[in-house]
């Protein structure tokens, strides 16, 4: 089975919905160790995505993802804007003008996304950033591809890995982003960006459960 262009569009729309529902929760996490806007920023961006998506949702997957990237870049701002924009941009570049993708494509796309985020933000693993949810998900996908798991199962384990990664940010001391200003005081709080990243992968797993 495969992930179609429409599946990708559904995933993005569902994520916009998930962000809207978790707006306050994400902002609350950011209040603890940041500046209380991560939910608001993401929500502003994905509201704009919902407005602009119709113009590209009949195009190929790469075009869809790149258009999401451009919208996020010009509406989210903050650290989250360039980083989430990078995720969609790099994934879009790797996937290119396909109308459907397989698990290996998705893995390569997510890996490119993670590399893009790392290049842009210069964070390392365990710096308490969204990468701490993204990297484990990519690793899990890699194993799933190697083991030839069916797509729904593969997505499930990658979302679970992201979830574990997200929770693992709690004890960490932040070394990047606004939370790093807190030094030791950042420990004991879950990273908002890692949380929204887990939600992104979790939404994919749910949206593509029948692929």
């Amino acid at each position: 089975m495969a992930i179609s262009r429409d599946d990708v569009v559904t995933w993005i729309k569902n994520y916009a919905q998930v962000i809207n529902e978790n707006n306050e929760m994400l902002t609350d996490l950011d209040r603890e160790i940041g500046d209380a806007d991560h939910g608001a920023n993401m929500n502003r961006g994905f509201k704009a995505v919902m407005t602009k998506l119709p113009a590209s949702e009949d195009k190929d997957i790469g075009t869809v993802l790149k258009s999401v990237a451009m919208t996020l870049l010009s509406t989210v701002g903050g650290a989250g804007g360039p980083l989430y924009s990078t995720i969609f941009m790099e994934a879009g570049k790797v996937i290119g003008p396909k109308m459907e993708i397989g698990l290996a494509d998705w893995y390569t796309a997510l890996q490119a996304a993670a590399t893009g985020v790392a290049n842009r933000g210069k964070a390392l693993p365990n710096d308490k950033t969204m990468l701490d949810a993204l990297y484990p998900a990519v690793d899990a996908l890699k194993r799933a591809v190697d083991e030839n798991l069916p797509i729904p199962e593969a997505l499930q384990v990658s979302a679970e890995a992201a979830h574990a990664g997200m929770l693992a940010t709690i004890p960490l001391v932040a070394h990047k982003g606004r939370a790093s200003y807190l030094g030791e005081r950042s420990a004991g709080h879950q990273d908002p960006g890692a949380t929204s990243t887990f939600l992104l992968l979790d939404t994919a797993a749910k949206a593509w459960a029948d692929c």
Partner: protein, 333 residues
């Protein structure tokens, strides 16, 4: 949340409308993407100065657009870095052929967005240099953190480099000057109360009625330590001592002393702090030859203050004194 606003999501746009109505002699306003640009931009042969950052720090940066200071400012959502498209369009709008300098406060978001904008502008053939301000001694600077934040010194840098650009210095000279200012200036701030981001609707942090937060940022980020409220003189010591020791400022130095209100602290209190700061500096043999006192880089309605010291020399003093005509800072014209 008690604010004189309409809908939270309209705050920045309506503010821009007010600025456009109030200052047509000084600035033009673009709404999509959002930026404020000098009425007479681009100025042929002059280096263009662009800054930007989250809204909520007024008058910075939009209030500093005008003759002798910024050529353009990009306002983000409240406390959120603006986006590359704004910065790109602003950069294009002020490019008079001598290149454009981006003044970027050191926050991950600002850095990344300005980096992307600079890349895009260079792609369109505009010469762009970026300078990062990171003067906040409350934050440990190391390769293991995002580094020090850009705070009060930004205002002084924008004034001084603005004067240099106005008198015709080159892009490289302006960038070097900005880096020199950054090397010679340090700041630290504190809060008595939190502030409330309009679209969030509740205070960015909770501060009990008898406590203050020392080492606060300008976005309601928590500071270094929280403690019982102390008298103004003690607070001044807690801010000024780390500032002086960090550079360090030394006996014989001539400095600009900037006592800033975070928004909710009135002028009467700033003068009390200024007084104590001058006394302290005098004791250390440091001479205050220039000053700035007032709400110039704020955090919405937050009560609190920040102190910035900048070591001056003849050139910096002359550039500080040069005429400036903006909504937020004006003298000599």
């Amino acid at each position: 949340m008690k604010k004189l606003i309409n809908k939270a999501e309209d705050v920045v746009r309506e503010e821009l409308e007010g600025i456009e109505l109030a200052h047509p002699d000084l600035v033009k306003v673009s709404y999509d993407p959002a930026y404020i640009v000098r009425a007479d931009a681009p100025i042929k042969g002059k280096v263009g100065l662009v800054s930007g950052g989250g809204s909520g720090h007024e008058p910075m940066h939009g209030g500093f657009v005008g003759k002798g200071m910024l050529d353009a400012a990009c306002p983000g959502a409240v406390f959120t870095s603006p986006t590359p498209d704004q910065m790109l369009e602003a950069t294009k709008a002020v490019d008079g052929g001598a290149g454009v300098l981006h003044i970027v406060k050191n926050y991950t978001g600002d850095i990344m967005n300005f980096e992307m904008a600079a890349d895009l502008a260079r792609g369109e053939g505009i010469e762009v240099e970026s300078v990062v301000v990171d003067d906040d001694v409350a934050v440990k600077d190391s390769t293991w953190t995002a580094g020090r934040r850009g705070v009060g010194l930004t205002v002084l840098m924008e004034k001084i480099v603005g004067a240099a650009a106005e008198e015709g210095r080159s892009l490289k000279e302006c960038a070097d000057l900005a880096r020199k200012v950054n090397g010679q200036g340090r700041s630290m701030g504190m809060a008595l109360t939190s502030c409330t981001v309009p679209h969030v609707g509740k205070p960015s942090f909770d501060l009990p009625e008898d406590e203050m937060e020392i080492g606060i940022g300008i976005h309601g980020e928590p500071g270094r330590t929280r403690m019982k409220v102390e008298p103004a003189d003690k607070v001044t010591e807690m801010l000024l001592t780390p500032v002086v020791e960090d550079l360090p400022f030394k006996a014989g130095d001539e400095v600009l002393l900037f006592v800033n209100s975070m928004g909710g602290t009135p002028l009467i209190e700033l003068y009390i702090i200024y007084r104590k700061a001058v006394h302290m500096l005098k004791e250390k043999g440091i001479k205050v030859t220039r000053h700035l006192i007032g709400p110039y880089i704020t955090s919405l309605e937050m009560a609190g203050t920040s102190i910035t010291l900048l070591k001056l020399d003849e050139d910096l003093t002359k550039l500080w004194d040069a005429p400036v005509k903006t909504a937020g800072m004006r003298w000599g014209i």
